[in-house]
Symmetry: C5
Subunit: 104 residues, 5 copies
């Protein structure tokens, strides 16, 4: 379970029918270092997040519980949209569309 | 769940019978950095992808749901073929056979 | 399963209802090297840990067992608060709020 | 699920009885980079692979399906012996005992 | 599933009751490189390993099978104590308490 930033969309016409009807987002994991990870994930999004938003991502059974069925080809899902992050040594902030921190 | 590029095939004659009848592909994860990962995965392919194609890959129960049975030795599967990727800071593109980005 | 330090909080208003009523903590994995990992996790916290505390974190079914239900969007949870760590080559210590080691 | 090279054996007398009767192999993941990973795995081997052979490795439920029971302490298993690997940009080859590529 | 060296103990008074009665060990994964990983794991130990010993570690369902129940907060467990490791290119050895290799 991690926080990430939505950095893109993925389109696939030829796919398992169990993936139909749900947008696929590319998500870059948030790190406390200088930049996010470049090992991007694909997540199904039942919540309605857009590019640039900060999201909460879960894996496996937890992801499918939020998607509503265990019998699908989804293994990762957006399970929430993050309003703000508070770091012990970095104040409270939102992430801007480009990933920079905006104090709140 | 991730996007990857099919970079090869794997052949195995001596294997679990539960792996019979399905092609095994080598997949290199897509990253937003300069190059893909060199930590390649093996995925069963029920969708019909070929070398050089960009695919969607899932793990565990999700992979086996798309393969049609939970009682097999497969743990990773191709669950879709990617038409295009849109990055917030990189336009919309396909991946060429060699992994370079082709604007669409 | 790992030891980590609570380095922050995450707030999300729009989320799966199965995540309601539980605080979300950002946790930085403890390493035996010079610094913790900057690949932070998000964990649900049914134990009551605060920022700066050292916690025990579990994943998947184990996490949800401690949370009380398998039918939730949680995949990671705080399952204990660490009193002390003893390293074979580093004595016995607590971790201070900033991650430095305090001998006990 | 990955391709790896068998680089060693592990012996353990004191262990869970559910691990009895199966050889334990050390497997180094194959990468498309200059060398394999040094983060070696331990896998149960129901197929009969030897040191230097290239194997297909699966995790979790898939591994235990091939081993024949879900109620064992095994989490990783050899599920096949690889005859040849074809890379889009590297020809078709076997891996020699020392990991170098032998064209076939 | 991996081989690791027990490098420490963890104590936690406030924790899930499902974790009671089992020692928690810090385990550093064995690698074939110059040193072990500094990304240490926490494992429940039903086998009776001590600091400096080399152990076999499993995750998830396999770990809990060895612990005796799927309904616990444990996700990682020691499932065996390693007597010796044989590497194709490094002889047969035990690991000393400090991780150096002792030929056997």
């Amino acid at each position: 379970m991690l926080v990430g930033r939505v950095v893109g969309n993925v389109w696939a016409t030829k796919k398992s029918p169990t993936l139909d009807g749900m947008r696929m987002l590319l998500v870059a994991p948030f790190t406390t270092g200088d930049k996010g990870s470049d090992e991007v994930l694909v997540a199904g999004d039942p919540i309605g997040a857009g590019i640039g938003e900060t999201v909460l991502v879960a894996f496996g059974r937890a992801a499918r519980t939020v998607l509503g069925s265990q019998d699908v080809g989804w293994q990762v899902a957006v399970v929430g949209i993050v309003d703000a992050i508070q770091l012990a040594d970095g104040g409270t902030f939102e992430l801007a569309d480009d990933g920079t921190r905006i104090p709140v």
